[in-house]
C-alpha cells in the first residue's frame, strides 16, 4: 500500500478546516482545559482521572465523529476512488486528532501544575494512550453511520476505560474486577501514583500491547468496512 505525504497532508488540512468550523465537535477541545481548572492543585489521582477522561472525550470522540461524518455524507466512498490509499486517509485523520490531543493534554497538564517525577515514561505513556484512543475512535466511527450515532458509540469507551480504575475498589467482592487492573487507564494510574511498587516497565509494556492490538483491529475493521460499503 503506497503512502504519499502530499495526500496525507491534503487530508490533514481538509480535516483541520472541517473540524475547526464544526463547533459541535471542536468544542470538545475545551474539555481538558475545563477539567484542568477544576483539578488545579489536585493530587496525582485527579491528574490521572483528568487524562483518562480527556482521552475518551476528546481523542476518541473527535476521531469517531470525523470518520462517521465522512460515512454519513458518502465522501469516504468517494475518497476511496481517488489515488489516496486507505492508509493515507486513516493516517491523515489520525495525525490531526493526535496533534490536537497532544497540544490539549500538554496545556491541561501545565494548568494543573503537575510535574511528573520522571518525564520520559510519562511522555511515552501519553503517546501510547493517544495512539490507543485514536484507534478506539476509529472503531467507534466505523460502527456508526452518522455523527449522532458516533457520539453515542463512544459512551462504552468512556465508561469502560475511564471508570476502569475505580472498579479496582470492588476487587474484594468480585474476582473479575481484578481484570480491570489491566486496562490501559488503570495501568496509567498505577504507573503515576505507585511508581515505587510497580515500576514503569510493566505498565508501559501493557499499554504498548493495548495500543498495538487495538490499532491492528481498527485497521482490519476499516479495511473490511470499506470493502462492504
Amino acid at each position: 500500500m503506497n503512502i504519499s505525504i502530499k495526500r496525507i497532508r491534503a487530508i490533514f488540512m481538509k480535516d483541520y478546516k472541517e473540524f475547526s468550523r464544526n463547533y459541535a465537535v471542536s468544542i470538545m477541545v475545551i474539555f481538558p482545559l475545563f477539567f484542568a481548572f477544576l483539578f488545579r492543585d489536585g493530587g496525582e489521582v485527579s491528574i490521572v482521572f483528568l487524562l483518562n477522561v480527556s482521552f475518551a472525550m476528546l481523542t476518541t470522540f473527535v476521531q469517531a465523529c470525523l470518520i462517521a461524518e465522512e460515512k454519513e455524507k458518502n465522501t469516504l466512498r468517494s475518497l476511496m476512488m481517488t489515488p489516496a490509499s486507505m492508509l493515507d486517509v486513516l493516517l491523515g485523520k489520525s495525525a490531526l486528532v493526535a496533534v490536537i490531543s497532544a497540544i490539549m493534554m500538554t496545556l491541561a497538564v501545565y494548568i494543573v501544575g503537575y510535574t511528573p517525577t520522571d518525564i520520559v515514561p510519562f511522555v511515552i505513556s501519553m503517546v501510547l494512550s493517544i495512539v490507543l484512543y485514536t484507534a478506539l475512535g476509529t472503531i467507534c466511527g466505523l460502527y456508526s453511520k452518522t455523527v449522532l450515532e458516533a457520539s453515542l458509540a463512544i459512551f462504552p469507551v468512556i465508561i469502560i476505560f475511564t471508570m476502569g480504575p475505580f472498579g479496582a475498589a470492588f476487587e474484594d467482592k468480585f474476582a473479575l474486577a481484578k481484570l480491570l487492573e489491566y486496562l490501559p487507564s488503570s495501568q496509567l494510574q498505577l504507573m503515576l501514583t505507585n511508581t515505587a511498587e510497580v515500576g514503569v516497565v510493566m505498565p508501559l509494556m501493557i499499554m504498548l500491547v493495548w495500543a498495538i492490538v487495538v490499532t491492528a483491529i481498527s485497521f482490519m475493521l476499516y479495511k473490511k468496512r470499506l470493502m462492504d460499503a
Binding site: 502530499k6 495526500r7 497532508r9 491534503a10 487530508i11 488540512m13 481538509k14 478546516k17 472541517e18 468550523r21 464544526n22 454519513e72 455524507k73 458518502n74 465522501t75 468517494s78 475518497l79 476512488m81 481517488t82 489515488p83 489516496a84
Partner: protein, 311 residues
C-alpha cells in the same frame, strides 16, 4: 465493459450485456429507478470505474477554493486552483463555504469530483437533477470536455436530460441495452403530423339550414339519413340538409366510428345504446341521444357490425 445479468425476486431485471462505448462522446443510459440502482451496484463492483451517486455529499464547511485545492492535492492534478475556478465558472463563489451556496450550486460543486477522477471510465447518476439552467449548461460543457479523454456514462431516468447532453442514448430494459434512435423517431412524428393535419380541415361536414351554411364536427352528428334523395344530418334533435351523397359521407366518416347500418342510414356508433331485435330478420339501433331516436339496421349489416364491436 461487461455487466452481469441481474435478478430480483426471480424476475430478470436486465440480461448480461456489454456497455457500449463511443469515442469522445458521452453515452447516456436511460432506464427506470430500479434498474438504475441495480446497474449502479453492478458498476461499483467493477475496477477502474469512478461512480458518482446522486446522494454524494461534500465537505460542506470548506470553501469552494479549499475544496478544489484539496482535490488537486489528492489527485495530483496539474492545473492550478485559479484555472479550475475559471474553468468551472466559480470565481464569484471561491470564498463561499459550500454549505452557504444555493442548492443548485451545491449540487454543481459536488459533481466536480468526477472531473478529478483518475479512472478511465466514469459513471454519473442523474448529473442534471435539480440544477439551474445555467449550471446545467456549464456542467454539460464540462462533461463533454471530460468525454474527450475518458469514457463518460450518464445514468438517468429522465429522457429530457438524456436528450440534452448526447445523441448516443441507450435504453436499458429487460431485454438489455438498446440504442434509442432519436432521428428515426422525429421522422415518424413528422409523418404522423403530415397524415393528420389536412384531414382535420376537411372532415368538417358542411350542411345547410335556412340559407345558412353550418359546419359540424363528425363526433357531434347522431346519424345521417337519406329521405327521398336528400341527405338529412341529425344533430341534437335538429335536422340539417347536406349536399353530399351517403357513399361519400360513409367514406369520409368511417374513421370517426360511423357505420353504414342501412342502405339509407349512417349512424355514429359512439352514440348507439342498444341493438333492438324485433324479429329474426328485423333489427334497429337505439341511439343514446335526448330524443331516443331509432335507426333501422339491415340484416346484412348486422354481421359486419358484430365484427366491428367484437360481439
Amino acid at each position: 465493459m461487461h455487466i452481469e445479468e441481474r435478478f430480483e425476486k426471480g424476475k430478470r431485471i436486465f440480461p448480461s450485456f456489454e456497455l457500449v462505448t463511443v469515442p469522445n462522446e458521452i453515452v447516456v443510459i436511460q432506464t427506470n429507478a430500479q434498474r438504475k440502482e441495480l446497474f449502479l451496484q453492478a458498476v461499483q463492483q467493477q475496477p477502474d470505474i469512478h461512480t458518482y451517486l446522486s446522494q454524494q455529499g461534500e465537505y460542506e464547511r470548506l470553501t469552494v477554493e479549499e475544496l478544489l485545492r484539496f482535490l488537486i492535492d489528492l489527485t495530483g492534478d496539474p492545473m492550478s486552483v485559479q484555472a479550475w475556478l475559471e474553468r468551472c465558472h466559480l470565481q464569484a463563489e471561491r470564498k463561499t463555504k459550500i454549505c452557504n451556496l444555493i442548492s443548485s450550486k451545491q449540487r454543481y460543486v459536488r459533481l466536480l469530483r468526477v472531473l478529478f477522477a483518475t479512472q478511465s471510465s466514469i459513471v454519473i447518476e442523474e448529473p442534471f437533477f435539480y440544477l439551474d439552467d445555467e449550471d446545467r449548461l456549464y456542467m454539460k460543457q464540462l462533461l463533454s470536455a471530460l468525454a474527450q479523454t475518458k469514457r463518460v456514462f450518464i445514468v438517468t431516468s429522465n429522457l429530457e436530460d438524456a436528450l440534452m447532453v448526447s445523441t448516443h442514448i441507450y435504453r436499458l430494459d429487460a431485454d438489455g441495452m438498446k440504442k434509442f434512435d432519436i432521428a428515426d423517431e422525429e421522422a415518424v412524428n413528422e409523418e404522423v403530423e403530415v397524415e393528420e393535419a389536412p384531414p382535420i380541415k376537411f372532415e368538417k361536414i358542411s350542411t345547410r339550414k335556412n340559407e345558412k351554411v353550418i359546419l359540424f364536427d363528425p363526433p357531434e352528428i347522431d346519424y345521417i339519413e337519406s329521405i327521398e334523395g336528400s341527405i338529412v344530418v341529425h344533430v341534437g334533435g335538429e335536422n340539417y340538409t347536406c349536399a353530399m351523397t351517403l357513399t361519400e359521407l360513409e367514406k369520409r366518416l368511417q374513421h370517426y366510428g360511423f357505420f353504414r347500418c342501412h342502405r339509407s342510414y349512417i349512424v355514429n356508433l359512439q352514440k348507439v345504446r342498444e341493438i333492438i331485435t324485433w324479429s329474426k330478420n328485423s333489427y334497429s339501433l337505439r341511439l343514446h341521444v335526448h330524443d331516443d331516436s331509432v335507426v333501422p339496421l339491415s340484416r346484412t349489416k348486422l354481421q359486419e357490425l358484430k365484427m366491428l364491436l367484437n360481439i
